[in-house]
């Protein structure tokens, strides 16, 4: 058993599952968004009304949280592969975590502030 205090869920199986489920959420959300852009052209009022719906906000928040978890696990893996110095790796991981947290909170503010 290799232990690591910085990974997402303490377990390889848990991280693996989160990565797959979040990937499905992101794929569905991306297809939905790209479909809207290409097949249902809307003006500002249309987009505003669409993102005023609670269901769309929940769906978007789900995609945002999935992006945060997915990116964290992915970048955690990349940093543990390529950055061998413990301090530098911790700083890089802390930087990634801070940026992701910033984006998630900012995203919530945008979604509910429209």
């Amino acid at each position: 058993m290799v232990t690591s205090v910085t990974n997402f869920g303490r377990s390889g199986a848990y991280d693996w599952m989160v990565q797959r489920v979040s990937a499905v959420v992101l794929a569905v959300y991306t297809l939905w968004l790209v479909g809207l852009i290409f097949f249902c052209p809307m003006d500002y009022a249309g987009w505003s009304a669409l993102f005023g719906k609670t269901s769309v906000r929940i769906f978007s928040l789900m995609a945002l949280l999935a992006l945060g978890a997915h990116a964290w696990i992915g970048l955690w893996t990349v940093t543990t592969d390529y950055i061998k110095n413990g301090l530098v790796r911790f700083i890089a991981q802390a930087g990634c975590g801070t940026v992701m947290f910033f984006y998630v909170v900012w995203g919530v503010q945008i979604l509910w502030g429209l």
Partner: protein, 234 residues
């Protein structure tokens, strides 16, 4: 034939270098790479490499031949030579002791970690632990591993984390004991593997399958272990 071989003697050389040697191949013969190395050693006795059975059973002469890992003793030069040239390097990712000889300690440490021996808590029967032919069949494609390290040293995940990722060879053996009907330590074995490195660092690129000189499939075994870990967690 031109053979470009990796040379490094830490007592003499500051840095490793590639040495080009022209080797006379007997006409009309398709020698194995190991035979070429023997001809090369006749010319230069300081050349170091491992070998033993010379028939693909002992796993001693794993090396990188024209960019692909394999056993020199069962690889004909016709299969690797490009434009009449062979480039021989030690297995990638492990510390070089001298020339083509690598330090396999990291590889063996991972093998040791998976406890490659049968564990059974029930009292031993008078003769032997029996197994049905169907259960025995499940070990086919797993027990044949000769620990030559061709697969693990072809795996980038093992290159980056040789101290944490068990690697394809170790995981193939791990599954060999997980799936053995006579082994009762399945839960303990799985618990020891359920971290983000030991198994899950495998990204499924299948370099291990492409280089295995015994034609085994570690990626498939890793997939089975992953499924066992996921089933255990649900």
């Amino acid at each position: 034939m031109l053979v470009s071989v990796y040379r490094y003697n830490p007592e003499r050389d500051e840095v490793p270098f590639m040495q080009d040697v022209e080797v006379d191949i007997p006409a009309g013969k398709d020698l194995m790479v190991l035979d070429v190395l023997a001809l090369l050693k006749e010319k230069d006795p300081t050349m170091a490499y491992r070998r033993s059975c010379r028939e693909g059973v002992c796993g001693s002469d794993g090396m990188n031949m024209n960019g692909k890992n394999g056993l020199a003793c069962i690889t004909p030069i016709s299969a690797v030579a490009k434009d009449g040239k062979i480039v021989l390097r030690p297995l990638p990712g492990l510390p070089v002791i001298r020339d083509l000889v690598v330090d396999m300690s990291l590889f063996y440490q991972q093998y040791e970690k998976i406890q490659p021996f049968l564990q059974n808590k029930t009292p031993a029967p008078a003769i032997e632990r029996l197994q049905s032919p169907e259960d025995r069949e499940k070990l086919d494609g797993l027990y044949e591993c000769i620990l030559c390290a061709c697969c693990s040293t072809a795996c980038p995940s093992f290159w980056w984390n040789p101290d944490k990722f068990v690697g394809p060879s170790g995981l193939l053996q791990a599954y060999r004991f997980l799936v053995d009907s006579r082994d009762t330590a399945t839960e303990e074995r799985l618990a020891a593997l359920d971290d983000p490195f030991s198994v899950f660092r495998c990204r499924g690129i299948m370099n291990c399958v492409s280089v295995c000189p015994k034609g085994l499939n570690p990626t498939k075994a890793i997939g089975h272990i992953r499924n066992m870990l996921l089933q255990r967690a649900t």
